[in-house]
Symmetry: C2
Subunit: 294 residues, 2 copies
Amino acid sequence: MLILNSHVLAHLAILAPGLLGASVAKAARARNAARSITIWARRPETRDALRAQPFADTIADTPADAVRDADLVVLAAPVEKIIELAVQIAPALKPGAIVTDVGSVKARICRECAAAMPPHALFIGSHPMAGSAKSGWENADASLFENCTTFVMQPENELQVSAFAFALKVASVCDFWDSLGATPVIVTPSQHDEIVAHISHLPQALATTLAALLAKKNPEWRDYAGNGLRDTTRIAASDATMWVDIFQQNRDDILRALDACQAELAAFRDALEKNDLPQLRARLETGKQFRDAL
Amino acid sequence: MLILNSHVLAHLAILAPGLLGASVAKAARARNAARSITIWARRPETRDALRAQPFADTIADTPADAVRDADLVVLAAPVEKIIELAVQIAPALKPGAIVTDVGSVKARICRECAAAMPPHALFIGSHPMAGSAKSGWENADASLFENCTTFVMQPENELQVSAFAFALKVASVCDFWDSLGATPVIVTPSQHDEIVAHISHLPQALATTLAALLAKKNPEWRDYAGNGLRDTTRIAASDATMWVDIFQQNRDDILRALDACQAELAAFRDALEKNDLPQLRARLETGKQFRDAL
């Protein structure tokens, strides 16, 4: 956890806002965290609707127009569109501009977006661990990032870049998230992808698998569900399209997490089959200790 | 779902009350669902403490004393103590008495408790799908059973018993749970054990396995947990001793549920490894449909 105090208000541009992007705008407005807020949305109808919103000062007609004066650009598009947007805005970025994003997978995005930047601008990926069952800018929430872990990417190899200058820019991005109420955490993209494979993508795979298994059973069983099943499967209700993209983008790390989980589950089954009660108890107690400490 | 209207107030005895047993007493008192409530607890200190509670009319010193006048006896002990209690009270039961329980595994309990009954009394197992992170009679809650699915056991083979007389008694037990606000559901013990293996015990095994896997990782990762991980692992915080008993008692059904789940998880992994996006999407959408319908 890193909290900086030297926050400087910036001209902020937010591109392709959905729930997260519009929540960044609302939170920045509510907390006076930006000097101005410019938004570009892909669909003309969305741009028209956004013109009436108090969290936008300017609605731009193109991504390039949106970023021209921006100190900080937030690419809020779905994971598979972020790189494309970075390439599109690169020629319009002003000297010293920082570009970040809110995508939930980082290694490929950071590599390709960094490569797309002009020499006078930097891409520093972000991932706020926020979300909601709802999506779309209409459901944006100014308090979405309060106490929310937000990963900010440091370079994989510090020798590749001017370490000191880069560190200052990473600190600025941390500072921005801090100003929205979030808790910034600095990691490398590969650390990030390993962490979220375990604490976010693996839980999604398990919730989906359990729900998909039960979907094959007698539909009456659904009426009998207690809170345990409701909690354990809650995230199975998430948007399928978004998750296909995430699974695909973080495939290797998720496969490794799934392998480890399958081995754990097989060991649990084995202990039960052999009636190895000390082993079964040890697993239950380890799980309980972990959950109690969350 | 079956709701009867012909409720007749009964002399109620509750043996070995923890959270569930004392909640039965509180709910019965609050809803005037029993003519009198007699309680027996194993520890003398608990009996003393219960004497001061408005939900008990009489505190008995022995299980036999507790059940002598009872129309309905609720054995609220942990799963592995229920059969022992049934054997102990059998000689003291009055003609027409019904004995039930609140254990979360049913086949063995129903078989052995039925065998322990005298000819003039019947054992009809129950399982309210209620619970709480808290345990102990001090945490009892009169509203614990409101809208709570409560399984009531019909015999496996109706020819073995006088079907009509038995059906009336099953209806009385359903009626009692209904009077506490619960939703009774009639199933056989083997159906029950298959259902709960899937909708309760398998989710517990998965939550425990995920939590036990993450317990091996960098402790800092815990600070990054979002609501998805919190929800998915919530029941991993349950009491380990209780769950060792449940896993042991419902071993065969849980092993079958685990096998089915491992096969689903392997198929998910396979789809991801092969980049079979339609298959991955189909699994996510099936899971979402199931969860949305809960």
